[in-house]
Structure formats: C-alpha cells, structure tokens
C-alpha cells in the first residue's frame, strides 16, 4: 500500500462501506470485495500533493465525526456513518463536497470495475459488440 496503509486503510474501508453498503436496490456492497488495494493503486497515481493531502482528508473525516456524534467515524454505526457523509455532500462549504466527490470516486472506480457488480446495475461491458466480459474483466 502506498497511501492507504495502517489506520488510513481502516478509515478508507469504513468510508467505502458507508458509501455503498450491502443490501438495498442491489445486493453487493463495498464490504463484499477487497477494494482497498485497487483504491490505493488509484490514489497512488494522483499528483504528489494530492497523495499527501489524502491521509489528512481521511483524518478529517475520522475525527470530524467526533464533533457531530461523539464517536470517531470508524466507530459509528453504518447508518450514522452514511448520514455523516451525506451531510458533508450537502454542505454549503465547497471543500467538504469536493472531499466527498473524491471519496466517491475512490469507491465507485474499483467497485463497478468488477463485472459481476456492474451487471447488478444492468451494465455489461462490451457484450453488445461481441466482447465477452469475464469475471475479472477482459485481459
């Protein structure tokens, strides 16, 4: 892991599971897959400044939650964690919304890259042109 190591990985995993929990409109949730290595590779490509900011952003979420619920983010229930992120997404403060945008992409890019997950939202990769999508994606 380049960026999401140690406690940063734990926070990132909790965020991903809050953004896409199990159940609801389709079964799969972020907790069903080990998205962390892929998320780390994705973030590892970011510009050096962004890479350095990323752990700070995770800490902001982890300890920012203390002020609203009295618990760190990773100790919140999934519902409360989701509500906390939702509040950030609707915030009038741009930097909070920007954080959510980045965290959502950190989650959706590796999550929906998995063909069986993509199929749950009706997507089939290239099959209409005769490109068969295998379990892990095409080579």
């Amino acid at each position: 892991m380049k960026v999401l190591k140690g406690r940063y990985g734990i926070i990132a995993r909790a965020i991903m599971e809050a953004i896409i929990p199990r159940g609801g409109a389709f079964e799969a949730g972020a907790a069903d897959y080990d998205l962390l290595p892929e998320a780390d590779r994705f973030i590892g490509c970011f510009d050096g400044r962004m890479r350095k900011l990323f752990p700070l952003m995770l800490l902001y979420i982890e300890y920012g939650a203390l002020f609203t619920s009295g618990r760190t983010f990773t100790r919140m229930s999934p519902e409360k964690a989701g509500a906390f992120l939702e509040k950030m997404e609707a915030s009038p403060l741009y930097f909070k919304r920007a954080m959510i945008m980045v965290l959502k992409l950190m989650t959706t890019v590796p999550f929906f890259d998995i063909d069986e997950v993509a199929r749950q939202v009706g997507y089939s990769h290239g099959t209409h042109c005769g490109h068969g999508a295998s379990q892990g994606g095409m080579p």
Partner: protein, 504 residues
C-alpha cells in the same frame, strides 16, 4: 520501433534534426510530418505505449495506466475543475471522445482581427483540415452507432424545434462499443497512437516512451537539445538519463505542462502560463422511463449548437458506471437506489466558450500547478446550458434530471428547470464543473507582448524552439480542439521544415 522502459539499460544519448516532446495531437503530427520530409526525428513521450491488447476499455486500468495523475488532474480555484489528460503514446487523443470540429470561422476572424494573426484564414487552414481529416478518418457515424442517449436527446430537441446533429468522429468501422475514453476495445478510434505515431516510425522517427523531458538545453539564445529522464513506470522515478542534441526542439506537452517545462528551462515571457482557457462543462443525467442502456453506442454521439451565439454547446457524454455513478448524488442506500437505475440513465453535457482565464505555474517535473476561477458570466452560461439540457430531457420524457448544482441536484419537472434558471449561483461555491480542453497557455501572438510564440509557433525568446500543442491556440474555441491542434501543428511542422531545409 517504439522503445519503452524495458528496453532501457543505460543512459541514452541521441542526435537528431528535430526533437519533439509529447506524442499527442500536436507532437505526433509534427513528428510524422517532419520525418516524412526526411528529417531525423526523436519523439519523447512521458507515458507508456498501450494498445488494445493491453487495455480493457474499463476506467480503472485505463486511468491507472494511461491518464495523467490517474485522472486526478485539476485546476485550483472555486470550484476545482478536473481536467482529463492522457499520459501515453497518443496523448489525450488515445482517451478522448473522438469528437472532431474544424476551427470555427468566427474564431479565426478573432485571431486575425484582434490578435494580428493575419495568416489564419479558412482558405489557408482548409487544406490542413482536409489532410488531417483524411488521415484520421473523420466521419459521420450512423444513428445506430451514436447510441440511445443521442436518440433521446434528438427526440427532445426535435419536439422543441432544436437542431440535434451527429458529431463527427475519427473512427474507422466503429460499432459503438462505448469504451471510447478508456481505450477503444474495437481498435476503431483513429487516435495518434494508431495513425500519426506509426507513420512517423515508418518514416524513421525514433520514439521513446517512459521518457520525461526535464529541461531544454540552450546556447547563445538558441535551443540545442533536451535533457530527459527514462522513468520506471512502476515507481515513477528516473532510472536513467537521456540527452537529445537537436537543431530544433518542438515542445508539445499540452497546455498544462508546456508552460511549466518552459519556465523550468529558464524562459521568460509574460504570456507563458497565462490565458488558460478550458471550456468548462457540466454533466446532466436524466432518469428515463424507458431502458436507455447508454453504453451501447459511442459515448459522445450528438450535439446541439442552437445556443452557440450565447457561447454554449451541448454534447453527448456517457461513460462506464465507475465514473458516471461516482458523480451521482447521495450516499448509502439512496445512492444504490439511484445507481440501480443506470440502465435507464441518459447523459448529456453543457460546455461553454469561456471568458475567464486561468494560469499555469512553474512546478516540478511530476506535478501540475494551475489556477482557474470561473467568473460570473461563465457560471451563468453554464447554468443556462444545464437548464437547456434538462428542458430537452424533460421534452423527451425524463422522469428526473440530475444536475451539478448543489441547491438543485435533482429536477423533477420542467417547472424545476425554470427555478434553476432563476437560481442565483455565485461562481465557484455551489456547483461542480469539469473540463477536457485546456488551451492558450503559450498562445500565438504578433509580438512578445501578446504571445509566447509567433504565428509559426516559434518562441519569441529562444531561437529554433517551437511549440505545437493546445497551448499555442490563442483563444477559447467553443468546440473540441483536437483538429485545430493538429492543423496548427501541421502548419508549424511545415515552417520548421522550411527552416531546416534552408539551413541544411
């Protein structure tokens, strides 16, 4: 032959007539033209060489392998605007949406009348456009290949009396697999990596991938070559050094990198890094009653230019769920509720001809530091553009429309469109924006006061140094710029060839 990191075992020293830095729309064209005229050419590209055998058409692999900063390039400002750039052989042409427009005549008139660039007439550039369009197979694709998003927008536009037309694409035998921005899995896209770069190689150009230009070498006010690093793609660290001695250097790293590279090389001209224009855009997604399956078809199929006189163009944009759903509102189960309707989503975008100007600063070789603040005029245009798309979607039968404006992220009816139009939006704080066309940061001008390069692309400060990428485009175009960049690069390559011919 295209050399890559696995071919590098020691420092490399090259000598050539011309060293071209960057293999995108500008660099590839310049390299091919000069190599075909018999000049020895070395082409340097920071990214790797990827082909349809190595990419899978999905965002994750493509963003990690072929996008600069994994797609995380952005301008600082309110809001930060993400700008998608390619970092691979073919540059951004390998990962763009294939849309081809010639430079609009009224833009050329502005260049002539207001910037003193008298030579850029339609008559002069016409043959360049024709040649390029032939080389990259610019064509109008049938509606079946343009996909359902395009058909839905056309239906809505027709009912409102607007003119929705197919975009032109650089594609050969395209079947509409829909993976355009993440590596064409059919090999239909005629980007630089499959057209101009192979042609340059055929004519003797030596191409070095994973090679990052560090700075220019100069002597007595003239360029003499380039110092570069051969970069390990796994670590991003320089493993070997490379020097290229050349009589002429053409910099084509793109509008966000060229200015920083020139500044690191010691060039001083107040226009270097200024005048950044990006065509800010905003996505608009509609949840339709019908099944859309928007991925079946090219991702950018059609356009509407009825609002061109206002500075707004509406264009298709549909991408893989990894990216499109990442831009959807909500968290948790409400997000999943919306995501589950992906097959019913149609997407289109509003793009504006911007009047604001940003700036690119000097940064290290690995980073990009730029600022861009959307102004009041432009945000008003963007809001109007989004409202126009929403209106068209509702006319086509949309159930809901999702916007990029915080105060109204979901529109439920045409009445909401009216409310959106009346909404007061301050620049920056209440909306998101994206951009794909950075231009103008080393613009052409008639003198060093107005430009960084002359109308032949030659630097006002250093002799035999040329720039041939989006950074020389003097103003915002209002349309996708790849054809303009290629035409200007071809024009610049011809001027370089004349100079080399004279001094041979």
């Amino acid at each position: 032959m295209i050399r890559q990191f696995s071919d590098y075992h020691r420092d490399i020293h090259e000598t050539a007539d011309v060293c071209v830095i960057g293999s995108g729309a500008g660099g590839a064209v310049a390299a091919k033209e000069l190599a075909q005229k018999g000049h020895s050419v070395v082409l340097l590209e920071e990214g790797g060489h990827h082909t349809r055998e190595t990419w899978n058409g999905k965002p994750f692999k493509s963003m990690v392998d072929m996008f600069r900063n994994g797609g995380g390039t952005f301008t600082l400002g309110m809001p930060t605007v993400s700008i998608t750039l390619g970092k691979c052989i073919g540059g951004t042409t390998t990962i763009n949406s294939l849309t081809c427009f010639r430079t609009p005549p009224e833009i050329l008139k502005t260049w002539r009348d207001e910037l003193g660039l008298a030579g850029f007439t339609e008559e002069y550039l016409g043959p360049y456009f024709e040649k390029i369009e032939k080389a990259i197979h610019v064509t109008e694709l049938p509606w079946e290949v343009l996909g359902n998003c395009a058909k839905i927008i056309k239906r809505g536009a027709d009912s409102l009396g607007l003119n929705c037309r197919p975009l032109k694409h650089n594609a050969l035998n395209c079947r509409g697999c829909g993976t355009c921005q993440f590596g064409c899995i059919d090999g239909a896209k005629q980007s630089m990596d499959v057209t101009y770069v192979p042609e340059a190689v055929k004519s003797g150009a030596r191409v070095y991938a994973h090679c990052r230009a560090e700075r220019l070498m100069t002597e007595n006010g003239a360029v003499t070559g380039v110092r570069a690093s051969l970069v390990n793609p796994e670590t991003g660290k320089a493993a070997h050094a490379m020097t290229v001695r050349a009589r002429t250097v053409i910099v084509a790293c793109g509008s966000l990198i060229t200015p920083s590279f020139l500044k690191r090389s010691g060039l001083k001209n107040k226009n270097i890094g200024r005048n950044l224009q990006i065509h800010p855009g905003a996505r608009v997604c509609a949840i339709m009653e019908e099944k859309v399956e928007g991925w079946k078809g090219v991702s950018q199929g059609a356009y509407i230019d009825d609002f061109e006189n206002e500075g707004i163009i509406l264009e298709g944009i549909f991408v893989h769920p990894s990216i499109l759903l990442g831009a959807f509102p909500f968290i948790g189960l409400p997000f999943k509720e919306l995501a589950a309707q992906y097959a019913h989503v149609a997407a289109f975008a509003a793009m504006i001809h911007d009047t604001a100007a940003g700036r690119v600063y000097r940064s290290g070789p690995e980073g990009i530091l730029s600022t861009y603040f959307i102004n009041r005029h432009d945000i008003e245009l963007l809001k109007k553009g989004v409202a126009y798309v929403a209106k068209i979607f509702f006319a086509a039968g949309a159930r809901k429309v999702l916007t990029a404006f915080r105060q109204m992220p979901v529109l439920d009816s045409p009445d909401d469109v009216k409310r959106l139009l009346d909404l007061r939006v301050k620049p920056g704080d209440n909306h998101e924006a994206m951009a794909f066309h950075p231009l103008g940061t080393c613009r052409m001008g008639s003198s060093p006061k107005t430009g960084a390069v002359d109308s032949n692309g030659e630097s006002f400060n250093v002799k035999n140094l040329y720039i041939a990428d989006g950074s020389v485009v003097p103003t915002s175009l209002g349309v996708n710029p790849q054809i303009t960049i290629m035409a200007l690069a071809n024009h610049i390559a011809d001027r370089v060839a004349e100079r080399l011919g004279r001094s041979a």
